[in-house]
């Protein structure tokens, strides 16, 4: 038994008492506890998994604001975890209890991994904040992994790694959808003015009413207002000359004009929007009606296959990459192959940093349905047409027309 094995339950108690901040320390200590005894591949795999599942979620959460959910659970919760640990120790750790079990005969031992898992379970059950529950589940992953590595159970370690992946990914998706991004530096100039758009973009309007009391007294209008302002900014920036004149010269002129009109009137109905695009596309390529139909269908299909998180990422991408639109359209050509597989960008979208995510998600949402053709069309999963979708279509349209102009 090493010091790390003893420290791990204490750090798990800290996670129960104080929150997700102690999770990286718990992960590192758990990894050390695994690696101290032996350096077999099983131990190394377990240690790497534990460190990843403990550090990455905390780093991810640090990019979001504290949701400030008021915990109604009292200060007794850590003591509940401690009591359960003591009961578990009494039931399994004593020589009398373990006398008949092979491998532990006659020696008292601390079921450290299971103590960590118990503490995590208490955090999941008793805490109400989503991030705290996430931390509790990840502590469970650490504890079960440690116990599996100590007991040399390969199957348990593998299944725990899978469960850890599931918990980390789905928890990250949930965090991305229900929490606000961290405010970065205040806007100072034209380049900095686009930063707040990225912060508000991670928020979903549908969740404002669903998630109960809004933290920090932030009402829905406080979220809506910067978004509208951002759209106005984006529209204003569209009127500026594009940074690279050689690309801008190749670009089809009507596409830019129509796109501006779309951005200027975001609340327009979807049908009107599509009609406008149809006429727009005909001005550019009036000889290809099938392409126009496909073009109208594509955004619908892309949003059906895309997750809402991706929708938000699209919004982020639009707002952040509007001024440097040419870079986006260049990226599209590179990402077109990656966009053929709808599942791969989905999986990546929740993992990557927002800048990269937005580019990948935007280009994949724009490009992926093309190989599937018009039969991919489905009705919208979300009945109410929303502004991010319109902006995403707008970006797609611009990229599409740029591509066509380049081909011509």
């Amino acid at each position: 038994m090493t010091l790390a094995v003893i420290l791990a339950p204490l750090l798990a108690l800290c996670v129960v008492a104080r929150g997700i901040g102690f999770l990286p320390a718990l992960g590192v200590v758990t990894a050390v506890a695994m690696l101290v005894d032996a350096r077999e591949p099983l131990q190394e795999f377990g240690a790497v998994c534990v460190v990843l599942f403990s550090v990455l979620p905390v780093w991810f959460v640090s990019r979001y604001q504290d949701d400030g959910a008021r915990e109604r659970t009292g200060p007794m919760v850590p003591f509940l975890a401690l009591g359960l640990m003591v009961i578990l120790q009494l039931a399994t750790g004593t020589p009398a209890a373990m006398g008949e079990a092979p491998g532990h005969a006659g020696a008292a031992y601390l079921p450290a991994g299971l103590c960590v898992a118990l503490a995590g379970l208490v955090a999941v059950t008793c805490r109400q904040a989503m991030v705290w529950q996430w931390a509790g589940l990840l502590a469970c992953v650490d504890g079960v992994m440690l116990s599996g590595v100590i007991e040399n159970q390969v199957m348990v370690v593998g299944v725990t790694a899978l469960a850890g992946c599931v918990v980390a990914l789905l928890g990250g998706m949930c965090v991305h959808r229900v929490m606000l991004r961290v405010a970065v530096a205040p806007a100072q100039d034209g380049a900095g003015a686009e930063r707040p758009s990225a912060q508000s973009a991670g928020f979903e309007l549908g969740d404002v009413e669903q998630t109960g009391p809004e933290p920090r007294g932030l009402g829905p209008e406080a979220v809506v207002a910067p978004r509208i302002w951002t759209e106005a900014e984006a529209a204003a920036e569209d009127e500026e000359p594009l940074p690279r004149p050689d690309k801008a010269a190749k670009k089809a002129v009507p596409s830019d004009g129509e796109a501006k009109a779309d951005v200027d009137q975001p609340p327009a109905g979807t049908g009107a929007l599509q009609d406008k695009r149809a006429s727009d596309a005909e001005t550019v390529a009036s000889d290809d009606d099938a392409e126009t139909v496909k073009q109208k269908d594509v955004p619908d299909a892309s949003h059906d296959t895309a997750k809402p998180t991706e929708t938000e990422s699209i919004e982020t991408g639009v707002m952040k990459t509007d001024p440097s639109e040419d870079a986006l359209s260049e990226d599209k050509a590179q990402d077109r192959k990656a966009g053929l597989n709808p599942a791969a960008p989905d999986a990546e979208a929740s993992e990557k940093i927002p800048e990269h995510t937005s580019d990948t998600a935007t280009s994949s949402a724009a490009d992926q349905p093309e190989p599937f053709g018009p039969e991919e069309k489905e009705p919208e999963a979300e009945p109410v047409p929303r502004t991010p979708e319109m902006i995403a279509r707008d970006v797609w349209l611009r990229g599409y027309l740029t591509e066509r102009g380049r081909d011509a």
């Binding site: 589940l137 079960v144 469960a163 599931v166 489905e378």
Partner: protein, 373 residues
């Protein structure tokens, strides 16, 4: 490769194939195709039950007849789910019942129950991903992930403890109760489409609990019986309120967990049949309510008789409490309106369900007498 092995492999791959075809099919024809694929899956499951692959047991894959019959019930549950649905527009949602049934069937047959737990977690993750895509569903999806993962971690912790010890049995029983969605301990599945994921998921948890009994020991069995009894009595006490109807949905799984704890695997199989064909959100229909309330004829009624006969060997006091609890639940919780009408349901799905329930109720005791179980 012999024919039975090929059949067994095909039976597991079939729902995945069905999911792929249903998702790729044009929307107006998808329901028809889904019914055909699910029906063929039922035929395959019955064929696997009748012609077991004898070499599979030697290689560690499970070959218990109760498990095979349980997979037949899961396949019929899929057929019924597909028949009840209209034409679904969302492709992922359309394929979800097929995929979850395939994954849970694979979880039941995996050589190690731990692998089965991993496959269950994967099924849960996919289902939650599909469910929580619409806006505003993020927290509901997180609640599902949280409860399911807690159950799986509890069972894994129990499996890491020494076999037969009391903490191991208690932890595994708690985890399985959560996985089986036993109200009020388990999931809060209240959505309309919960049957897509929840019916096969809870069924697989029931089938897995039979295999985990070896590791759990006496504490495991006692804890399962206690949890089932508590759920039965809570159903009886809740009455006909909304809460009571929600409890009444999981009435057969409570009895099935009691049967697993008492060692009556065939009774658990019959309750599982009731759960897959009449449980979940079908409990509002009159024929389903009659089946759930263990009215004759039907599989749950026969299962109830078998359970009581096994429980009387186990403990007299628990038997009396169970009988009283079931009677109270039937008197107080069964929906009254239309209970005696609609003896032969109007819709095709209801007719299939009633036929299968009655046939299972007759055939399973017959097979047990012939020594099949």
């Amino acid at each position: 490769m012999t024919v039975p092995v090929f059949l067994a492999a095909l039976a597991f791959a079939w729902p995945l194939l069905g999911a792929a075809i249903v998702m790729a099919a044009p929307t107006p024809r998808s329901r028809e195709i889904a019914i055909w694929m699910a029906g063929a899956g039922c035929a395959l499951a019955v064929a696997v039950f009748l012609f077991p692959a004898t070499s599979a047991a030697a290689e560690g894959w499970d070959d218990d007849p109760v498990q095979r019959a349980g997979r037949v019930m899961l396949a019929f549950g899929l057929l019924l789910t597909v028949m009840e649905n209209g034409i679904l527009q969302d492709r992922l949602l359309r394929g979800l019942p097929h995929i979850s049934t395939a994954l849970t069937g694979l979880a039941c047959v995996a050589p190690d129950p731990i692998i089965g737990l991993g496959i269950l977690e994967a099924a849960l993750a996919y289902g939650v991903f599909v469910f929580s895509r619409p806006a505003g569903q993020a927290r509901a999806g997180w609640a599902l992930v949280r409860t399911g993962s807690v159950g799986i971690f509890l069972v894994l912790s129990g499996l890491l403890l020494p076999s037969g010890s009391a903490p191991a049995g208690l932890m595994m029983a708690c985890g399985l109760v959560m996985l089986a969605g036993l109200t009020p301990f388990g999931q809060s599945w209240r959505e309309e489409n919960d049957t897509y994921l929840f019916l096969p998921f809870a069924g697989a948890a029931l089938l897995l609990s039979m295999r985990l009994r070896v590791h759990g020991g006496e504490a495991f069995e006692t804890a399962l019986v206690a949890a089932g009894l508590a759920s039965v009595w809570l159903t009886a006490c809740a009455g006909r309120s909304d809460e009571g109807l929600r409890l009444f949905r999981t009435f057969p799984s409570a009895l099935a967990l009691m049967a697993v704890g008492a060692g009556a695997d065939v009774a658990a199989l019959l309750f599982l049949c009731g759960w897959c064909l009449a449980g979940g959100n079908r409990s509002g229909r009159s024929w389903a309510a009659r089946a759930l309330a263990c009215f004759p004829p039907g599989a749950p009624f026969v299962g109830c008789l078998l359970l009581l006969s096994m429980l009387s060997d186990w403990s007299w006091s628990v038997t009396v409490l169970t009988v009283a609890g079931i009677l109270c639940a039937v008197v107080r919780s069964v929906p009254v309106e239309g209970f005696t009408q609609d003896l032969w349901p109007e819709d095709a799905a209801g007719r299939v369900a009633c036929s299968v329930l009655v046939l299972t109720g007759f055939l399973v005791p017959l097979a047990m007498m012939l020594g099949a179980f």
